[in-house]
Symmetry: C2
């Protein structure tokens, strides 16, 4: 890049998601200065030390003041309050965007708060790990991933275009999607699997028929399968609270399949069991072809 797309970027919440976007844009030469904003000093110092950000502040109003683009990457429930304060102190024409995992409630809460001249683009990179904090951030997190942007009737076209370019520079392919559709699809492919993994680990880990910890016997399969149950509890509490209806729909769907399978196990239905497993294997294999 010879031109600098974002002269000053402010990242609110310099964790895995915020930190990785900063690193990706720095690696591409697409940002001038990166200001990191957070509540705790320890994480900000770590981010400075690792070169994720160039300047740090715990004062949100001051941190966003001169930014051309403000990226909010704090847990979903905190986004509204953070957006309200940020938007009140941003310069005219600046763009606000976010990476929150739920979009409907976020867009609905933030849009009415925006002063005239501040543009908001709701977004969600489909990338992540179970790690948290500035230390978890890395420049290639978004490479080859999708980033979903969910513009609403109020979204400014120029702002949308800039945010799209930002994610493309970070290595992602950008998909535009209706907020409601985003929340339902994510409930299915991401939020439900996390609920399932958390339940499974609690069910197995608290099984106390034997004295030893039976998880000690688990092999690679169990460890891979339950990796997502190590994800940050605050992040997932917020997702469960803010995408409730779509998540409940998917949880009920999954319960019905599980109950069907349980009945087949109970009744020793050899053919039905085979078909159930075979269908699942075909669906799974189709996505990793």
């Amino acid at each position: 890049m010879s031109t600098c797309l974002v002269p000053r970027l402010a990242v609110v919440g310099v964790g895995l998601i915020g930190g990785s976007l900063a690193l990706a844009l720095k690696a591409a030469g697409a940002v001038g200065e990166v200001v990191g904003i957070g509540r705790g000093r320890a994480n900000l110092d770590k981010a400075l030390e690792l070169g994720v950000i160039d300047r740090a502040t715990q004062d949100l109003a001051e941190g966003v003041r001169d930014a051309d683009l403000v990226f909010l990457a704090t847990p979903v429930l905190s986004l509204t309050e953070v957006a309200a304060t940020a938007a009140a102190h941003m310069k005219l024409g600046a763009i606000l965007t976010d990476g929150g995992s739920v979009k409907g409630s976020v867009a609905a809460a933030i849009e009415p708060l925006l002063p005239v001249g501040i543009h908001f683009v709701p977004g969600h990179p489909i990338a992540g790990t179970e790690k948290s904090g500035a230390e978890a951030a890395f420049a290639t997190l978004y490479h080859g991933r999708r980033c979903i942007l969910t513009p609403t009737a109020h979204t400014d076209i120029g702002a949308l275009d800039l945010v799209r370019r930002v994610w493309e520079i970070a290595g992602s392919s950008v998909v535009l999607m209706d907020v409601e559709k985003h929340d339902r699809i994510l409930a299915a492919i991401s939020h439900l699997p996390h609920m399932v993994a958390y339940s499974l680990v609690n069910a197995v880990g608290s099984y106390d028929r034997y004295e030893e910890n039976i998880l000690e016997y688990s092999a690679g399969g169990f460890r891979d399968f339950t990796r997502i149950a190590s994800s940050d509890p605050t992040m997932w509490r917020d997702i469960a609270l803010t995408n409730r209806d779509a998540l409940l729909e998917m949880m009920e769907r999954c319960e019905a399949f599980f109950a069907e399978l349980k009945e087949d196990v109970r009744n020793g239905e050899a053919d039905k069991l085979y078909e159930f497993f075979q269908r699942s294997k075909e669906l799974r294999d189709a996505i990793v072809k």
Copy 2:
């Protein structure tokens, strides 16, 4: 190894489990000749080509005749019939062992069939991948894994000792365990997670509210989480049929945790959700320390 522990090994079912034991013992110089026995010619030819076995036959009786050790590595439901034929043709003093994922029903079915002078040691290596067939086998599959042997009141001590040494040479640490305990622990840490993964993939993969295949949006988390849903349907049908009671107990346990979580989501119970996720994260993180 300067002495050869097993002059002639017969492997019935030269797939992931049988083939990997053959390769591990060959790599350690612990076997003389390895005879592979299977139903289909294609898999046996592949096994010969890859050097997994030295000789192949589709005739079980002939294949086991001169073997010192016969390892059964076919799906659980086939083990009884295969064991009956094998035991009837093995030489006096030879040892029969298996790698089936369920032990109670297998040991109970096989022991009454054994001619005098044929020793049976039920076993189960806690290692695996979601791949099948001779091509999936590799010499280090058992490195650093546990292998559970479940001797019964009828198990010969000398035979148990030899089978233990075989698995140790293959790289595993051997644990002796009661059959019933084995089946309950495996129901928890392996069989339940597979049922959960199969149900989840079916629930999500058949969700058709939108025209496109929503699995296309899934990122790394979903793929890792559902990898075990690619496992062989025959193998898992057999496990579900033969470890029914222990599996049902765990499925009901998991259902109860999932139902609790669903109620917390429905009622917007922020603190309970946080605690549920936090407890799970602690349990999960404790096993990968």
